[in-house]
C-alpha cells in the first residue's frame, strides 16, 4: 500500500508563499502542449529578439504592480522554455522579485531547462543568480519517442545535460509516458536510466490529449491516441521503481528524495498562495484566483499602459471544499476536519473505501490509488456539509 510522505511538509506548504514566472518562448511548439507559448512561425514571432526584450520588460513592470507581499519561499520559472532566454535575463528577474518581495532563507528557486540548452555558462549563470533547483525536460530516453513528442534533443544529449546539472543543483528529471509509439520496454528503459542517474526528484506525467493541440487534431483524424490502460501499466512501473531508488512519491505525478520535494508544487496542492507573472500565468492570493491574458501582444500592451494584464479573477468558491480536492492529490492525504462525518456517511465515498481507492484514518482522507484521484475529487464535490 502506498505509504504517506511527510505530514509536516503538508502543513508547512499551506503557509508557503511562492511566485510563478512564465517564459513563453520555445524553439518549436511540441504537438501535445497547450501552454501559452510563442514559437517560430507565429505571426508575432517575426522579430523574436525584439519581442523577447519587450516581454521581459513587461514582466518586470508586472512584478512592480503587485502589492507588497513576501518573503517568497519558492520561485518557479516555467514555460515555454525558460532556459531559452539565457541566464542573465533570469538573474535579472530573480533580482526584481527579491527586491520587491524578498526571498526567505533557504528559498527554492527553480528553473525549467531543456537539455539542448544546457551549457557550462548557462549553469554557472543560473547558479550565480541564486537558482537552487533545475527541472530538466528529459521526457524520455528513447529517441523515437522524443521525435514523436517533437523534442529537439536526443537521449544522449539528455544524459550529458543531466550529469552537468546534478553536480550543482537539486535536479528534477521530467518525463512523459504513455505516448503511442512508446512500448512497455521503452518506458522501463527510460525509468531505469532516469533512476540510475540518481536525480533528486522525478516528475512523470502521462501524455494527455489537450483540446486544440496538434496531438488532439491528429487523434480526432483517427491518429493513434494514448491508451489509459497502457498508461496505468507504465504508471505502476514508475511507482515500483521509484521506491527502490529511494524516491518517495508525494503527489500523483511526483517523486522526491527527502528534502527535495518541489515547494511550488506542494504549495499548489496545499492550497498555498502564489503570485503568477507572465503570459497565461495564474495566481492565488487573499482568497482570489486570477489569471493573465494568453496573447503576448495584449500582455505587453496592457502592461505598458500601466495595468495588470489580467484576463479574469474570481473569489474561491467554497474554499474548504477546494482544500480537500487539492489535498487529495497529495500522497499524505488531506485533513478532513469538519467533513469527517459527511465523508464517512457518503455512499459514494463508501464505495471508494470498499474498492480500496481511499482510506479515512487519523482524521485524514488519503487516496491509495492516485490514478483514480479525479474519481475521488468528483465524490468530494458531491459531499454535503
Amino acid at each position: 500500500m502506498l505509504a504517506p510522505d511527510s505530514y509536516e511538509l503538508a502543513a508547512l506548504a499551506a503557509r508557503w508563499r511562492s511566485a510563478y514566472v512564465h517564459i513563453p518562448f520555445c524553439r518549436r511548439r511540441c504537438p501535445y502542449c497547450d501552454f501559452a507559448v510563442v514559437a517560430p512561425g507565429d505571426a508575432v514571432a517575426a522579430d523574436i529578439g525584439g519581442l523577447t526584450d519587450r516581454y521581459l520588460a513587461a514582466l518586470h513592470d508586472e512584478v512592480e504592480m503587485e502589492a507588497a507581499w513576501g518573503p517568497l519561499d519558492a520561485v518557479n520559472f516555467g514555460g515555454g522554455t525558460p532556459s531559452a532566454i539565457g541566464a542573465p535575463a533570469i538573474a535579472s528577474l530573480i533580482g526584481r522579485l527579491g527586491d520587491r518581495f524578498g526571498l526567505a532563507p533557504e528559498a527554492e528557486v527553480s528553473v525549467e531547462v531543456n537539455p539542448e540548452d544546457v551549457t557550462a555558462p548557462l549553469l554557472e549563470g543560473l547558479r550565480a543568480a541564486g537558482v537552487t533547483r533545475l527541472s530538466l525536460g528529459v521526457q524520455s530516453f528513447d529517441d523515437a519517442v522524443l521525435r514523436y513528442l517533437g523534442r529537439l534533443h536526443t537521449s544522449a544529449q539528455a544524459e550529458a545535460a543531466l550529469d552537468a546539472c546534478l553536480s550543482h543543483f537539486s535536479v528534477s528529471l521530467d518525463l512523459i509516458f504513455g505516448s503511442p509509439p512508446e512500448s512497455l520496454e521503452s518506458w522501463q528503459t527510460t525509468v531505469q536510466r532516469a533512476l540510475a542517474a540518481e536525480p533528486h526528484h522525478v516528475s512523470a506525467y502521462a501524455l494527455t490529449v489537450e483540446t486544440g493541440t496538434e496531438l488532439w487534431k491528429s487523434v480526432r483524424n483517427g491518429g493513434a491516441a494514448p491508451d489509459p490502460d497502457d498508461q496505468a501499466d507504465k504508471y505502476e512501473i514508475m511507482q515500483a521503481a521509484a521506491g527502490g531508488a529511494g524516491l518517495v512519491q508525494y503527489e500523483v505525478s511526483n517523486y522526491a528524495r527527502p528534502g527535495h520535494a518541489c515547494r511550488y508544487n506542494l504549495a499548489t496542492w496545499g492550497q498555498g498562495e502564489y503570485l503568477g507573472f507572465g503570459l497565461g500565468a495564474h495566481g492565488h492570493r487573499d482568497g482570489v484566483r486570477r489569471r493573465n491574458v494568453r496573447s503576448i501582444t495584449a500582455y505587453i500592451e496592457t502592461t505598458a499602459a500601466g495595468r495588470r494584464p489580467e484576463a479574469g479573477r474570481a473569489i474561491v468558491p467554497d474554499p474548504e471544499r477546494e482544500r480537500l480536492i487539492l489535498g487529495l492529490r497529495r500522497v499524505c492525504g488531506v485533513e478532513l476536519g469538519p467533513w469527517m462525518q459527511s465523508a464517512l456517511a457518503d455512499p459514494g465515498m463508501g464505495r471508494l473505501m470498499a474498492a480500496g481507492v481511499v482510506e479515512i484514518a487519523a482524521g485524514r482522507l488519503r487516496v491509495l490509488q492516485p490514478l483514480l484521484a479525479d474519481e475521488v475529487g468528483v465524490t468530494v464535490l458531491s459531499l454535503s456539509l
Partner: protein, 600 residues
C-alpha cells in the same frame, strides 16, 4: 334536400403514392367545389404529418355538387380512406358509410397488397367497385397490363376499367359519369326513425367532439334530441353541417347524406366511432351493424429522456388520444429509464407517427423501448395471463407455455423476387400458404407468420430485397404456442428491465450476444470489473466484461490553474448526477438510450 336517388357515397381505395389525394383534388376542381386558384394541394389531408408523408391517417369527407350529362344535379360524397395497413380499421369505417368505391391503381406499378386487401374488404361489404387506372400520362404507364391484372383479381371485363390522369385531368369527367351511372344510390327509409352511423370523430378545443356521420334512415335536424344507441349517451344536435370542403352549416341531413354533428359533448370517450345516432323520440329499435374497436397489436415503452417531463408526456398522450381512440397506454416504471408509459399501437407506422407527433407537437425527447407484441402466458394452474411487457411474464416455476399472435401475411411482388422473399419469410418463422400468379410477371404470396417477426424491420427488409417493388398486408390469425423465452440482460448480476425481451429460443443467443457487446461499449468503466450477461431463466448465454477503470486523473495542474481543474471535476460530477444506479453500477442514461436506439 337532395333526393337520395341523386346521392352517391363513395370512397377511393389506393396505395400510397398512387394519386388518391391528387384525384380528390381534381374532382373538387372539375366540379367547381374548389376554385382552381384556391386549390391547395391535397385538400383532404389536413394534418401536417399527413401532408409531409403523403399518407392519410384520419378519415375525412367532402361533399361535391355535380351536374351530370343527364341534366340532373347530384350530390357526391367522397369519404376518404387511409392507405396504410396499420389503419385498416379506419378503412372499414369509411366503407360502412359508402355504397361504392373507386379502386385507384398506378398505371406503371400495378395493384399493391394493401389496395387489394382493401378492395376485397369493399366487395365483402357489398360495395360496388369501379377499377380506375391513374397516371396514364406517365411514360412508364402500361394500362393494358394493369387492366388485365385488375380483371384477373376482381373479375369483370377490361371495358369496365377506367383510365385517368389525375394530374392532367384526362378521363376525370368520364369518371364522374361512371360514379353517377355505375354506383348505386343510398337505400334508406326517410319515414323511419333516425339512424345515422358515426364513422369518425375528432376533438376540437373550442367545439368539443365533432362526429362524422352518415344518415341511413330518417332525418337529422338541428335541435333534435339524440341518443347514441351503444353508449346510451343523450345529447342535442347543436349544429349539423357538411364539408364542401369548407365547413357549411345546414338545418337538416337526410337519407344518404354525409356530414358532421356537434352535440356539445366534450369527452371523446363518450362517443364511440361505429355507434348509431337515433332520435330520442321516436327512437329506432335496432342499431346499425357497427364494427369492432381497433385492437393494439404492437407495444412499446415510451420514456421521457428527462424524468421531469413525465407529466408533460401524460398530458400529451391524453391529448393525442382525443383524436386517436386506437391509442392505449398505462404508466410503467423502469429501473433503468424511470417513469414512462407502456403504449399500444396498431402497428409500426402508427407507433412512429405517435412518437413523431409527441416529439414534434409536444416538444418531448423520448426513449422508445424495442417494440413487442401481446403474448398469452399459460400457467400451471390453468390460467392465461396477458403479457405485453416482458416483466409481466409469470414466474418460470408456474409458466407452462407462451402463445404469440400470428398473422396472415399477403405479399404482392414481381415474380423475380419470390426466392428472396421466401428466404426472408423463412428466417422469420413464416409458413408458406398459397401462391397465385396475378400475371406472368406478378405474384401474390400468402404466409402465416408470428406478428412479432414482422413488427420490427420486416417491411424495410422486404422493400430493400425487392428494390421497393413488393407490398404487403396482414390480418390477425389468432394465437399459437411457440418456443418463446425471455432473455434478461444482467449488469453485475442485476437484471436491467429495459433490455429484457421475449424472443424465440432460436434467436435468443443472437439477441443476448448483441446486447452484451453493445452495453460493453456504452457503459463507462467502473471501479471494479462489471460482468455484462444475457440469461434465459437464470442460465447465462452470453457474457462480456467491462474491465475496471484504472486511470481517472489529470496528470498535472497546468500553471496552477485550479479553476480549470475544478471545472473539469464539476463537469464530471454533472455527468455522474445523470447516472442511474443499477445495483452498484453507474450507468449514464445515454447508454440505455443508445443501446435501445441502435436497431431503429
Amino acid at each position: 334536400m337532395t333526393d337520395a336517388a341523386r346521392i352517391r357515397n363513395f370512397c377511393i381505395i389506393a396505395h400510397i403514392d398512387h394519386g388518391k389525394s391528387t384525384l380528390a383534388d381534381r374532382l373538387l376542381e372539375v366540379t367547381g367545389a374548389v376554385e382552381a386558384r384556391a386549390m391547395r394541394d391535397q385538400v383532404l389531408d389536413t394534418m401536417d404529418l399527413e401532408r409531409e408523408r403523403g399518407i392519410t391517417i384520419k378519415a375525412n369527407s367532402v361533399s361535391i355538387r355535380y351536374t351530370a350529362p343527364d341534366g340532373n344535379e347530384y350530390l357526391l360524397n367522397l369519404i376518404d380512406t387511409p392507405g396504410h395497413v396499420d389503419f385498416t380499421y379506419e378503412v372499414s369505417r369509411s366503407l360502412a358509410a359508402c355504397e361504392g368505391a373507386l379502386l385507384l391503381v398506378d398505371a406503371a406499378q400495378g395493384i399493391e397488397a394493401q389496395t387489394l386487401a382493401n378492395a376485397y374488404l369493399a366487395i365483402e361489404s357489398g360495395l360496388e367497385v369501379i377499377p380506375v387506372i391513374n397516371k396514364i400520362d406517365l411514360p412508364a404507364a402500361d394500362p393494358h397490363r394493369v387492366s388485365a391484372e385488375l380483371v384477373g383479381v376482381l373479375g369483370g371485363s377490361v371495358e369496365d376499367v377506367l383510365a385517368v390522369s389525375a394530374k392532367t385531368g384526362a378521363g376525370v369527367s368520364e369518371l364522374l359519369d361512371a360514379i353517377v351511372t355505375r354506383l348505386p344510390p343510398p337505400q334508406g327509409d326517410r319515414e323511419q326513425p333516425l339512424r345515422a352511423l358515426v364513422f369518425d370523430s375528432y376533438y376540437d378545443t373550442y367545439r368539443g367532439v365533432v362526429c362524422h356521420i352518415r344518415v341511413v334512415d330518417g332525418t337529422l335536424s338541428t335541435g333534435d334530441e339524440l341518443r347514441f344507441m351503444a353508449s346510451g349517451l343523450q345529447a342535442d344536435a347543436d349544429e349539423i353541417g357538411i364539408h364542401r370542403p369548407q365547413v357549411t352549416e345546414v338545418k337538416r341531413l337526410h337519407v344518404g347524406e354525409v356530414g358532421y354533428l356537434i352535440t356539445g359533448v366534450k369527452e371523446i370517450d363518450l362517443i364511440r366511432v361505429g355507434d348509431t345516432v337515433t332520435a330520442a323520440r321516436p327512437s329506432a329499435d335496432e342499431p346499425l351493424p357497427g364494427y369492432s374497436e381497433p385492437k393494439p397489436m404492437v407495444f412499446s415503452g415510451l420514456f421521457p429522456t428527462d424524468g421531469d417531463d413525465f407529466e408533460r408526456l401524460r398530458d400529451a398522450l391524453d391529448k393525442l388520444r382525443l383524436n386517436d381512440s386506437a391509442l392505449v397506454y398505462r404508466a410503467e416504471t423502469s429501473r433503468a429509464l424511470g417513469f414512462g408509459f407502456r403504449v399500444g399501437f396498431l402497428g409500426l407506422l402508427h407507433m412512429e407517427i405517435v412518437r413523431e407527433r409527441l416529439e414534434r407537437e409536444y416538444d418531448l425527447d423520448l426513449v422508445t423501448t424495442a417494440p413487442s407484441v401481446e403474448y398469452e402466458a399459460h400457467t400451471s394452474d390453468g390460467t392465461t395471463v396477458t403479457v405485453n411487457s416482458p416483466q409481466e411474464l409469470p414466474d418460470r416455476a408456474v409458466l407452462e407455455s407462451i402463445a404469440e399472435p400470428f398473422v396472415k401475411l399477403m405479399i404482392i411482388t414481381p415474380a423475380e423476387f419470390v426466392g428472396t422473399i421466401m428466404e426472408l419469410v423463412q428466417q422469420r418463422r413464416g409458413a408458406m400458404g398459397e401462391m397465385t400468379y396475378l400475371s406472368p410477371a406478378r405474384v401474390e404470396l400468402h404466409y402465416t407468420i408470428p406478428l412479432a417477426e414482422i413488427v420490427f424491420d420486416f417491411f424495410d427488409q422486404l422493400k430493400s430485397r425487392t428494390k421497393g417493388y413488393a407490398s404487403m398486408d396482414y390480418e390477425p390469425a389468432g394465437y399459437q404456442v411457440s418456443d418463446l423465452v425471455r432473455v434478461d440482460v444482467l449488469l453485475n448480476g442485476v437484471a436491467v428491465d429495459a433490455f429484457s425481451t421475449i424472443v424465440h429460443r432460436d434467436k435468443a443467443y443472437h439477441y443476448g450476444r448483441q446486447m452484451v457487446i453493445r452495453l460493453k461499449e456504452l457503459i463507462p468503466r467502473q471501479l471494479f470489473d462489471v460482468p455484462v450477461q444475457a440469461a434465459i431463466a437464470g442460465r447465462i448465454i452470453a457474457r462480456e466484461t467491462i474491465k475496471a477503470k484504472r486511470k481517472d486523473v489529470t496528470a498535472k495542474c497546468y500553471g496552477g490553474d485550479i479553476t480549470r481543474k475544478r471545472k473539469l471535476l464539476e463537469r464530471q460530477k454533472e455527468g455522474k448526477r445523470r447516472m442511474k444506479m443499477v445495483g452498484a453500477v453507474e450507468v449514464p442514461q445515454e447508454a440505455f438510450i443508445s443501446a435501445l436506439r441502435i436497431d431503429e
